[in-house]
């Protein structure tokens, strides 16, 4: 049931315990207790809205920054990752397989803002040997949600 509840909440965090209980054919009390447990045990780390920021002119720009890191003996990539994630400009940090090591999603008010942040902060961290910054030009889909409006339904009436 935990997994079923998580799947539903991942899809829509606004589902109430009562709705989830109905959908799963489960007891409401049990569902609401399970959700509390999932929150307490850090399975659920937060609830956030999916926002189409592109609708607000100049709300923010974001970039994917690839970091090459020289890992430290005993500490691996953790030390750098912790430094990177401490910045409020950083939205997400992932350790990657492949050509580079850390994938960092950075947001800022403007291109210059992000560029400055990468140059002054990320690039200067000890053991970061190289950076490559890719600016996001348009968001099509965010957290499973389609952000571009669907095509008009031009099918006409069906009488059945």
């Amino acid at each position: 049931m935990k997994y079923e509840i998580l799947k539903l909440l991942a899809n829509n965090a606004k589902y109430t315990a009562s709705e989830i209980a109905t959908m799963l054919g489960a007891d409401e009390k049990e569902v609401s207790n399970t959700i509390k447990e999932l929150e307490k045990d850090d399975y659920i780390r937060g609830y956030k809205a999916v926002i189409d920021w592109d609708k607000l002119d100049g709300a923010y720009v974001s970039a994917v920054v690839e970091l090459n890191v020289v890992p430290k003996a005993g500490l691996g990539f953790e030390e750098v990752a912790e430094k990177v994630m401490a910045y409020k400009e950083v939205e997400a940090v992932y350790l990657m397989s492949g050509n580079y090591d850390l994938n960092v999603i950075v947001k800022g008010k403007s291109l210059q803002d992000v560029a400055r942040f990468v140059a002054r902060e990320l690039a200067t961290i000890d053991s970061v040997s190289a950076t490559a910054t890719h600016f996001v030009m348009r968001r099509y889909k965010e957290m499973d949600v389609n952000l571009i409006s669907a095509e008009d339904d031009d099918r006409g009436q069906l009488w059945v």
């Binding site: 829509n12 589902y15 709705e19 109905t22 959908m23 799963l24 009436q157 069906l158 009488w159 059945v160």
Partner: protein, 389 residues
């Protein structure tokens, strides 16, 4: 000047337009209508199926197929029938690929029914059986199934309806609009009534994948002695979310299917080739997609049934298809009145039960082929409407 009245076939001009049509017409003129009226899956056709269609086009497979349908598809249909119902149909003689389940129903009725033959139709049920029977020259004989019997046809009702002229019994289960299903013992009771009579069953099983509560669909043909007197109609529209592909099939005794095929051959030639290639993929590799959609429908079904009961419209649990059929008798309104007023007052479109036969009076049909949010909003508005009337 030409007199169209004298040109047109009276049987056709006398067919009433579908009762659902009126509400669609009104709803189409309004803004911000939230609809629970459409009996069509809101999922995209699974990508693998669409891809199979595209690939067949890329390879230039755009010509006619066999009248019966592609051999490979008939084999897959035969496998599917065995996998799902443990019934064996020979792909060469007992399986016909049709343009949706609708064509299979029409052709089967036309193959069996001639002037004056009686066709027994349980109602409330899907709207096509009665007009198709009339077009074939037959006489529809209606059984008004009852809510207290969970909208099943009972042996007693059937017995009272059969005459020497009865040729065909339509069994539309899982049922649109009631959500009723027939279980093994119900079908066995039907068998007892017809076993010594020369009556064929047309079993419309288009919603066979959509049964809830752990009970898998059972076909009348699964009952001992019934396979030889049953034509099963099914299709891809509902289970695989393939409404626009227009793909269905008929399975039955070769003596009947070969005659249905004659009608199909002259009226249609063959089902659309692209759709047939896509359908092969659907039957071969898409069980998981079907399961996923099924699970979504089940959750929406629970939300809708609880929603209706919570606002005071008594709604029994639908066991199949994707409709709830709540009673609106507590409002004192007729079904049509209720639906029209609801549409104008709250911009919510549902279908009056009477669109599916006179015995649908006092009920409305609400489809749950919509997101949970959409269903919740519609039910909230219906709840407000109930308080204001």
């Amino acid at each position: 000047m030409i007199d169209y009245g004298k040109i047109l076939n009276k049987t056709v001009t006398e067919i009433k337009p579908s009762g659902i049509r009126k509400f669609f017409d009104i709803a189409a003129t309004m803004d911000d209508v939230i609809s629970l009226s459409v009996g069509e899956p809101d999922f995209q056709t699974p990508w693998a199926i669409r891809k199979a269609g595209i690939e067949s086009l890329q390879k230039g497979k755009t010509k006619y197929t066999s009248n019966w349908g592609l051999v490979k598809l008939r084999e897959e249909i035969s496998n599917y029938m065995e996998r799902k119902l443990n019934l064996k149909y020979c792909p060469d003689e007992e399986v016909l690929v049709t343009v949706g389940g609708s064509e299979a129903i029409d052709a089967c009725i036309r193959a069996v029914v001639a002037d004056g033959d009686e066709v027994i139709i349980p109602q409330p049920s899907y709207v096509c059986y009665e007009p198709m029977t009339r077009l074939a020259g037959g006489v529809p004989v209606i059984i008004n199934v009852k809510a207290e019997n969970n909208f099943k046809v009972t042996a007693k009702e059937l017995e009272a309806t059969i005459t020497d002229k009865t040729k065909l019994l339509i069994l539309p289960y899982p049922c649109n609009p009631t959500g009723a299903i027939m279980e093994k013992q119900d079908l066995e009771a039907i068998y007892e009534v017809i076993k010594d009579k020369n009556i064929l069953i047309l079993s419309d099983e288009i919603y066979s994948e959509l049964t809830f509560g752990g009970k898998a669909h059972i076909s009348p043909a699964c009952i001992d002695g019934m396979k030889e007197r049953t034509v099963i109609v099914n299709g891809f529209s509902k289970a695989f979310s393939m409404t626009g592909w227009r793909m269905g099939w008929a399975c039955g005794p070769k003596e009947i299917v070969s005659q249905i095929t004659k009608i199909h051959q002259y009226a249609i030639m063959c089902a659309p080739t692209t759709s047939q290639y896509a359908a092969i993929e659907a039957l071969k590799n898409c069980d998981e997609d079907v399961q996923y959609m099924m699970k979504q429908y089940d959750m929406r079904r629970r939300i809708m049934v609880k929603g209706f009961n919570d606002i005071g419209l008594k709604c029994n649990e639908p066991k199949g298809a994707f409709y709830a059929f709540p009673s609106i008798k507590s409002t004192g309104m007729t079904s049509e009145e209720f639906c029209e007023k609801l549409l104008y007052a709250k911009n919510v479109a549902v279908v009056p039960g009477t669109a599916f036969g006179d015995s649908g009076e006092g009920f409305i049909r609400a489809s749950y082929c919509y997101s949970v949010e959409h269903i919740n909003e519609a039910i909230k508005r219906i709840g407000e409407f109930l308080k204001e009337i």
